[in-house]
Every structure is written in C-alpha cells, then in structure tokens.
C-alpha cells in the first residue's frame, strides 16, 4: 500500500522530483583554533553519493565526518568549493530547500506535542489538508512502529522511540530526498540498537531515500550501508562496499580500522627475491616481487587475523611464534603471537586448544597478503 501511495501524483503542490545524487567538489574547510584540539583542515575534498543508496561515512572521532555532514545539510558553509545536488549547486540553499532531513545524535522532538502532532507538524506547516495529513502520518507511523504511541506526549518516550519520531518527521514530507544521520544510535539502549538499525535499513529500501549515516563504529557502518566512505583527518581514504574494504584496504589505516581486530601490519623488505620480515622469510610469487622490488621507501605487509593460518606442527613456509595472550570470545578466539620483536594477532575457532607460552606455527597464505608501499596498497 505504501508503494502505491508513492506513485500517485500529488495534485496541488508542484512535485519536486525525489532525486538526490550528492556531490562535493573541491571542498575546503578549516577549523578555527578555538574549536577543539584537532588542527587539521579539509582540503580539496571530492566525494559523490549516488541517489537512492544507503551510505556510511566512517572514521574515528574528530576526523571531519560530522563537518562534512553539516556542510551537506547546510548547517555549515565551506570556505570554498561546491555542494551539488543532482548537478546543481546548492551552497546558498537552506536545509529545507535541499530536501534534506537530519537525524542527530540526540533525539529532536517537540516535547510539548504528542507523537501524532510531531509527525504532522511539517505537513501542517506547508498547508496540507488534514485528511491527507492523517493518512500520511498513519503510513509513516506504521512503517516506524509508532502507531501505538501516536497519542503519547513526545517528551515521555524513550530515546529509541524519540529517534524514530525524529526520523519520521524527516520522511513524512514526500519531497524529502535525503536523510542524514549523525551517529543516531548514540543514546539508544544497546538492546534496542539492532531493531533500530533494521528499521533504518527497511525505511531506506522501502522509500528509496538516499541516506548518509555518519559513525565511528564500523559495525554500524558496514551493516547499514552498501557503500562506505572511510575518512581520517579530513581526508577521504577509501570508498567501497564492506567486502571491498575488508579484503582490499587501500591503506594500513583502513586495514586497521575495519575488522575486529584490525589488520596486522608488518614492516618488511625485499631480500634475495623473497620477502624478509624480522628474521623470517616469506615465499611469494615472482609477479608480486617484481611489483615491490626496487621501490624505495617503506614496505609493509598486511594480513588479517582471520586469514592467518595456525597449527601445531611445523612445516615449510611456516614460522614459529610464541602465544602470549588468548582472548576467548566464545565463538572464536584471538591469539596474540610474538616472535623476534614481531607481534601479530590471529583468529582461530573455539575448538583450537592452546595455552599461553605454547609455540604455534604460523603461515601467511599468499592470496590474502597485501603489500603497502608508503602506506598505499600496491598488491
């Protein structure tokens, strides 16, 4: 029923087409010295978010992601550069004109009104007839599981419900093309986070709205989004699907940031047509050696704890490490392995039996090893 509603043309108001490919071009922004202690600035940033997609903007606290979000919404003005919606520059347009709804870290509701009035508020402000409003509010309330709360004063809801009302107010207007979410689950009880995450995904798919979800939590980002943009210190480092980011991180930072625990990064060098790592040598194919050989600068080897192979019996191309720490999480275990001043983490299943101080044999499968030159992925 919801889908049919979306196809019916609205008779009186001019229908603004719900398209929102958002683009940032040559964006510059710098923080004054008073704002916090991060003194970097955003320089010549370019990014694009396609229409009707679920996106995440991921990065550690203070990396600039909230700033980017605020520039997209219009809350902040860039020092120079263009914000484009469907190719049109919107720098001068207000948030509303950009057809954006925003969900903040803390729920923004009108305490003095009940839930129904909260949801109806934007529609009433644009002069819609009550009959239409009633229907639309009911639709949205149903989509967000708020139907049973419609008569309640908004101030009395719990944070999760309030956030849904916040979101509801954003999407109740049919011309909302984009929803920006700034760490929306921050104040929500951990038990309810999953349900809300699921709801957000549902809403995105159901209404086909472009969503950009800002967070420092990779779990949230990778679950919600089809496309993830990773940022650090004001720079966009990589854009891709969760799988891409996981398998082929563009820099050691991405490797570290995605995955739990992050990718192991080991300094290495090319020696005698092989890779030498702190006293160990690693056999890899000629093809790969050619790509790395001859490059000056810093060479690093990256391998995810999930892909490291471990066993008790020694063998060719297997190296001996000492097990210094076991973290058993139930479904799997994280082993901290040390040898020759090298410290790596490996992931094994719950059946793996080993005690601290045991020697463990370790192998790095070649197809899972990634090489980085001066912090950039080369192969």
């Amino acid at each position: 029923m919801l889908r049919q509603e979306n196809l019916l043309p609205k008779p009186k108001t001019r229908i603004k087409k719900k398209m929102a490919t958002i683009e940032l071009k040559n964006l510059y922004y710098s923080y004054s010295l008073h704002e916090g202690d991060s003194a970097f600035s955003i320089t010549d940033l370019n990014a694009i978010w396609k229409d009707r997609t679920a996106n995440a903007l991921l990065g550690p606290s203070g990396c600039g992601k909230t700033t980017i979000l605020n520039i997209i919404s219009g809350l902040l003005q860039p020092m120079s550069g263009a914000v484009l919606f469907d190719g049109k520059e919107v720098n001068r347009q207000s948030t509303r004109e950009r057809q954006i709804a925003q969900v903040f870290q803390f729920a923004v509701v009108y305490d003095t009104m009940n839930v129904y009035d909260n949801l109806a508020f934007p529609l009433r402000n644009s002069g819609q007839p009550e009959k239409n409003i009633k229907q639309r509010v009911k639709e949205i309330a149903e989509l967000l599981d708020l139907t049973h709360l419609l008569g309640q004063p908004a101030g009395k809801l719990n944070p999760a419900e309030k956030q849904m009302v916040s979101l509801g107010r954003g999407i109740v207007r049919k011309d909302t093309a984009t929803v920006l979410l700034d760490e929306p689950l921050t104040v929500i009880d951990p038990i309810l986070k999953l349900d809300i995450r699921r709801k957000l995904r549902e809403v995105q798919k159901e209404l086909g709205i472009t969503m950009i979800y800002v967070t420092h939590d990779q779990h949230e980002a990778l679950t919600f989004a089809d496309h993830v943009t990773i940022m650090n210190k004001g720079v966009i480092i990589q854009v891709g699907t969760p799988e891409e980011l996981f398998l082929n991180p563009a820099t050691p930072f991405v490797g570290f940031f995605i995955g739990s625990p992050g990718m192991n990064m080991i300094d290495c060098e090319v020696k005698n047509h092989g890779i030498s790592v702190n006293g160990f040598s690693l056999q890899i194919s000629e093809e790969k050696i050619r790509k790395i050989e001859g490059l000056g600068g810093k060479i690093q080897l990256g391998i995810r704890p999930e892909f490291i192979e471990t066993r008790k019996s020694p063998g060719d191309n297997w190296n001996t490490f000492e097990l210094t720490l076991v973290e058993n999480v139930g479904a799997y275990q994280i082993l901290t392995l040390e040898a020759n001043n090298l410290r790596i983490k490996a992931r094994v299943d719950d059946q793996f039996k080993a005690r601290e101080k045991d020697p463990i044999q370790v192998h790095f499968p070649e197809d899972k090893v990634r090489f980085y030159h001066n912090e950039k992925l080369i192969t």
């Binding site: 919404s73 809350l75 207000s94 948030t95 509303r96 954006i100 709804a101 925003q102 903040f104 803390f106 923004v108 009108y110 305490d111 003095t112 009104m113 508020f121 934007p122 402000n125 644009s126 101030g155 944070p159 916040s166 107010r169 954003g170 104040v187």
Partner: protein
C-alpha cells in the same frame, strides 16, 4: 565522617544566626507584645495579628504590592525574552552587549532611587520635560498614577537586564539542532518560538519569574527615595508600610506585619522550590 560538611558550614551558620536569626526572634517577640514609646512591653498574644488582618491600610499595602509585582513581572519577562533573542550569540558583540546590559544591575539600590528621583523632579527632571512635549502634566509627587508608574519604570529599568541575561543563558543552552529541525519542518518564526524556544526555556523562565517575584515583593529603597510612599499611600508598598509603623514605634504591630510578610515570602519560596524541582525532573534527556 558525616560531621565534616557541617564544619564547613559553621562560619556561614554563625553569620546567619547573627544577622538573621537574632533579629527574627526579636521581631517575633515584638509581634507578641504591645509596645509604645518608653512603656514596658505588654504581652498580648496574637492580638496584634488580629489587628493587622483587620486593618484596611494593611490590606491596601498588600494589594498594592501584589499589583506592583505582577505588573512589573508581566513586563520584565517578555521584555527580557525580546532582548535576549536580539543579543548576538557569537562573536565580538557578545561581551560588549552583556556588559552594557549588566550595568543597571550593578548600581546600588539607593543610587538608583536617587537618580530616578532627579529624573522625575518636576522642575529639573527629564521625565516631566518629555511628557510636556506630549501635553501631559507629569507630577510624581501629586499624581498617584504617575508615582506608581514611575516606580514600575524604575524597577523595569533596573531588573529587566537580569531577566534578559538569565534567558540569554537559557537560549545558549538550546542546541542548534532544534532550530535546524524546525527550519527543515518549515516552521514559521512564531512556531519555532512557540514549539522550540519557549518549551526549552521553561526551567529558566520559571526560575526568573519566581526570583523576580520574590525580589520585587520586597522592594524598599527605590520607593522610599523616589516617592517616600506617596503621594499619600499611593506607593506605600508592604515594606514601606512596615517601616512606617516601626518608625512610629508601633513595634508590636510592625512586628506582626513583618512576620506575616515573612510568612508570605516563605510560602512563595516553597512554591518556587516545588515547581522548580518538578520541572527539573521532567527535563531528563
């Protein structure tokens, strides 16, 4: 050790007992006696209270006081809101505006009284001059309305900055996100004010209203210096009423009025406390 906090309070308690408790007990004592100059005080129980309650002059003073407080509040609070809304939130103007706004608050009460008396003097004052331009014969010592309104004006001039600063602080505490959401929702300026600003200012407004009410209820120096309570009893507010009675050595009577006065203020404080903590509870997340 639970006793330690009390040790820290001891100096204050000592001071309070000297400056507050002792006079209080003295006054209560007076209120229970019939005292006339030179005579030996005669214990009369609650007779003074009965006399006070029946006295039309007392009731007149009380009503005058209540009318004054209410009217002054009805102007100061909305005016304070308007001023607070028009002050700059960020940047260089902030410091300057706040200082300018605060100046009336720093002037001692009696200086305020005398200054405004000069303003309202029939011969040299600026107020009569301004009024005469409009053809009105302003006379603060002869016309009750003029006197009352002048005092209102003084109080408003003196204390609106307080309301404005308090509300300004309250406004600063409202996160931008709410205004942005209201903008996105297409709310008009009035609607934004009504649904975002006003509800969020509620605790601050409650505080402001109750403090100002209690304060204005005790107004003394300004009417004393400006009108002396006149013309007649037109501006004899409750505090002046008590003072007059005490000056004419009707200490028993004055004592009774004082105690009643104190009682009213205590009741109001209690109400304030209840309302303030109740709204504080409602303000969780």
């Amino acid at each position: 050790m639970k006793q330690r906090p009390w040790l820290f309070l001891l100096p204050t308690l000592l001071l309070m007992s000297i400056s507050a408790f002792v006079p209080l007990i003295t006054v209560i004592n007076y209120s229970l006696h019939y005292i006339f100059a030179g005579s030996i005080p005669e214990f009369v129980g609650l007779q003074n209270y009965a006399e006070v309650m029946g006295d039309t002059r007392f009731r007149q003073a009380l009503l005058l006081q209540l009318a004054f407080s209410f009217m002054v509040l009805a102007i100061e609070i909305p005016l304070g809101i308007l001023i607070a809304l028009s002050l700059p939130r960020k940047g260089r103007g902030v410091g300057l505006s706040l200082v300018l706004l605060g100046i009336p608050l720093l002037i001692p009460y009696n200086v305020v009284g005398i200054t405004w008396r000069l303003f309202s003097q029939s011969d040299i004052g600026i107020i009569p001059r301004v009024f005469s331009v409009f053809g009105y014969e302003y006379n603060v010592s002869l016309q009750s309305v003029d006197a009352f309104l002048t005092l209102m004006l003084v109080d408003i001039w003196h204390w609106t900055p307080f309301a404005a600063l308090l509300i300004y602080a309250g406004l600063q505490a409202i996160p931008d996100a709410y205004y942005q959401a209201a903008q996105v929702d297409g709310a008009s300026t009035w609607k934004t004010f009504r649904y975002v600003t006003l509800p969020k200012l509620r605790p601050v407004l409650t505080l402001g209203i109750l403090i100002r009410f209690m304060d204005s209820f005790k107004i003394y120096s300004e009417p004393l210096l400006l009108t002396g309570g006149g013309p007649g009893n037109a501006t004899t507010f409750l505090s002046l009423f008590v003072a007059r009675k005490a000056e004419s050595y009707e200490l028993g009577y004055a004592g009774a009025v004082s105690v009643i006065y104190l009682y009213i203020v205590i009741v109001l404080s209690y109400l304030f406390f209840q309302v303030a903590t109740h709204s504080a509870k409602e303000q969780t997340v």
